[in-house]
Amino acid sequence: MSSSSTQPSPPEGTNALFAQVYDRLKAMAGKRLAGNARETLDTTALVHELYLRVGSSAELRFAHPNQFYAYAARAMRHLLADRARDRMRLRAGGDWIQVTLTGSDSRLALDSAEQALQLEDALQRLANSDARAAQVVELTWFAGLSQEQVSETLGVARSTVARDWRFARAFLKDQLGR
């Protein structure tokens, strides 16, 4: 799969709140990874940490905590896809920066980037087929919410979330071929 064939919607540039959540998650994630290369990034922990920080800041105001998670999960998803695309572009030598990666890390990084893009691609297709089911997945995977929290965030019944999830699960498994 080439990176050009999957073009997920860019971060909603018009939405300042979203942009800020995205930037801050990106900074936090970057810091974690830069701090210790061997450390595994805990994406949902990042989202929750940001939530805690946002709670004490005046600049990011959300009508409801639920709104935050919807933004943050989306931001985290875009972040992953963007990073994956960056990494793929790097392989193509399309960027000015020289990044020295050791051989094995490089292979792993590229494979993972490809995997991330496949995932993003599958999520896109799911969103085209059933937008809410895609959002359920987003909240579950990228913000680490439970089904109950997802139902609260989306304002739908638990049974609806369960049904969305079941459909999404089948859909994604089919798409990802596993």
Partner: protein, 945 residues
Amino acid sequence: MGGDTTTRPSAFPESDMPSNIPTIRELFEAAIALDAPARPGFLEKHCPDPERRAQVEALIAADEDASEPLQVGEIDRIASAIGPTLPRSSLPAGSRVGPFELLEVIGEGGSSTVFRAVREVEGVTQQVALKLMRCSLYSPEAQRAFRREQHALIQLKHPNIARMIEGGVNESGLPYIALELVVGNTITDYVRTHQLGLRQRLHLFCVVCLAVDAAHRALIVHRDLKPSNVLVTEDGEVKLLDFGIAKLLAEDGEGTYTQMPAFTPAYAAPEQHSGGPTTTATDVYALGVLLGEIVTGERVNDGSGRTPSSRIGASSGSERPVALQHVTRKQVRGDLDAIILKALQADPLQRYASAGHLADDIERLLCSQPVRAQPPSRWYRAHKFMLRHKGGVATTVAFLLAILAALGLALWQARIARDQADLAQRASTRANTTLAFIVSVLQTASADLPKDQRPTPEALVTEAAKNARDDPELDPLVRAQLFTTLAEIARSNGESRQAELLIDEAIVQLHEHGSSPSSPEWIAALVSKGNLLHDTDRTGEADQLMLGLLPALEGVDTEGAVSALMLYSATRAYADDADRAVEFGTRALHKAQQVFGVDSLNSVYTAMFVGLLANKLKRFADGEVILSDVVARWHRLGLPRNEVLARCLLQLAKARHKSGKPADVEALYQEGIALMRSVGDESFYKISMGLRGLADFQIDMEKFAEAKVALDEAQEISGKVGEQSSEVALTQLLLARWHEERNEWVDAERDYRSAHAALAKNADQGATEAEFRRARLDWSHALIELGRLDEAATLLAQAKTAIGENPGSNDLDTADFHCISGELDMANNRFEPAVAHLDRGLDLLANLDAAVLSSEISCRISRVNALIALRRSHDARSEAEKAFIRQQETNAQAKLKLAGLLALRARCERADADPQAAATSIAQARKLAVPVELLSTADRATLEL
């Protein structure tokens, strides 16, 4: 998968095709709601397009496959593997930032990029490291703060700190700072690649400390000290990078205001995680982590609670490929352990007062002087001096003393564990662990002596005490402390007599010295004495001693005060003073959390003590809350999965069971039992304890088959302990109850009888006194059911005497005594006194801290029967209703019980001349479909089964 298959999408009326074409999802959901064989037909009918049908079929196949599309944590793995974000917003090389020309990227941070950059200063090319932020500073306020901080940093000049050259904001509003360019390795890499020995490593670390200290004196805190910020150049020169930068460029631009600055979690002090104020003590903590890593090669603050020295492979390099062959465990054990741990104290006030003090202690260590980290400092210092001037056994004693700080903690924990431990287990476990510990010390200490000349621990203690007594230079207070410590060692060896002599000597010394009762020395001595009294079954005296000590504990926040409160709580529990026991247990917990931090091992243990105490006092709701927290914390802190955790799980299961929260009870029991099994065969009797708890729960849930399996295994294990042991009796008691609940009264009576006999034999041991009283009551109940009323009357009279000896102490027994006496009266056709007894019993039951459903229900049943006999059928009916509702509310799983209660209600309704209601009750009971053979004869008749 928990899909909602009960609601079918309305797009598929059974009759004909919907007008609009169903979506893939609608087809999928409708199909999976059908049985597999019906699906092809359905799809053929509603999805004629073969391509779409293939899609739906693929979805169905994927749905049936149990795997998940993505494994847990896979996103994290992918994200980590891809690596850090690339600086999309950074400037390309060759462009300018302020007066600097960017040459190349030399580093990537989360919020900034570091370039090698140059500028011309009066004809000279100056190379710098230029750090360019990716985000602009949000507010004017943040920009002002940036300039202010930057000014302070430029003033900071120290040969071991990379100089800040200039800071500013570039054309696009991004802040940047230019720093002295340092080429070097991180300090941890440096010591490894240069294969430095311990002394050289410590010298290097001292340089780091002094540089940090200098910055602190200029009121600048680093906030993010870690190996990558401590470089060593090829010339061996230490250079600290990024001093104060974390605050200056907090990634949020809000760090200065919310006290949530950027930091690296692995090196961050607890107050940084919790959002507390960042002070110089924060850097001291990070220095502690750094020191640990320099000497052991590992990050020592990983929450494992291991001492730094224990991380160093015993034999060089066998365990870890990157083993530090140039530092041995023995070198680090003792003073260096203590120094690192002092720097890593959770409470900032307990750490070194400054980086300079830390450097000072390292230097003392390097010239074999006493270090400040070893508490308590006075006697330690005196003895370090004393021991430097004596030889022979004293050398060994020196080693012994060096481990006392660590030993003190071990003893303290052993003491807590012991407080809950069984009498028999107690002595052996504690003696073994501490003995093993001391022996290992001795092996290190006197390795140069032939085996037969090495002193025993007792001889060591005696010798040390003699030294302490004879040394004229010794301060009386120091001497007293030494005696206390030696007494503790003796006590842990099981040498109670030697311990008591020593502790009394300590108390006399303290008294003569005019020591204050709230001084740590005094508290430590009295706690030690109290523990000794408690050990030797003089709990009453220990209780009095602690009571006298209480006023002195006010406002004293030390480990000794925690121990004192806990001991008092324990002695109050022994005296059946539940309120005070819980009160002081809770106070001990609060104090422990204050002294050691909420997440410290000591606090977790103290919480466990309070939780077990609550259970022991039958305050299961309290126990449930506390133990849930302990277990959660245990997991979160990554503490070892050991017997202590197993015990905790079993007690939590019990607390949940008894406080009416049946949800996880079985799983908790299973986990606890499995863990106990994995710990080893020494704790066999604890496995049977767990099995009994599980069986007790399963009997309540009427899972008779499962309960029997657990009981059979418990019986097998108990049998190994000894035919006549109280272990066997306890299991038999439950077997009896198992029969009783199944209305198998002959078997129940037999088992109660033998349990009672076994418990009577062991009654003088005191441990199973409560069970003995219960056995008597339960047995008499069974006898009444079998019509053996005289025997029952005799037993009840005995029970009354036993309760009389200990009035009010055990309300459940008193309540049950009244209930069963009521039954006996009933059986003797004395209905009025029966009702009086039963009313009294119900009153008492209602006042218990934790409801005991089984007693309450059986009391109500008896009351119903008495009322029927008195022809008060209306009252009987409402009582029967109440019993049914209570049972249903509290444990609706117990179908057999419910069926019996419905039959009883039906009899009342019949007596009350309401055959219609009776018929309804009977129908309701029959619907429960319980095994007929387990119903009592009367109920079977009523239900016509």
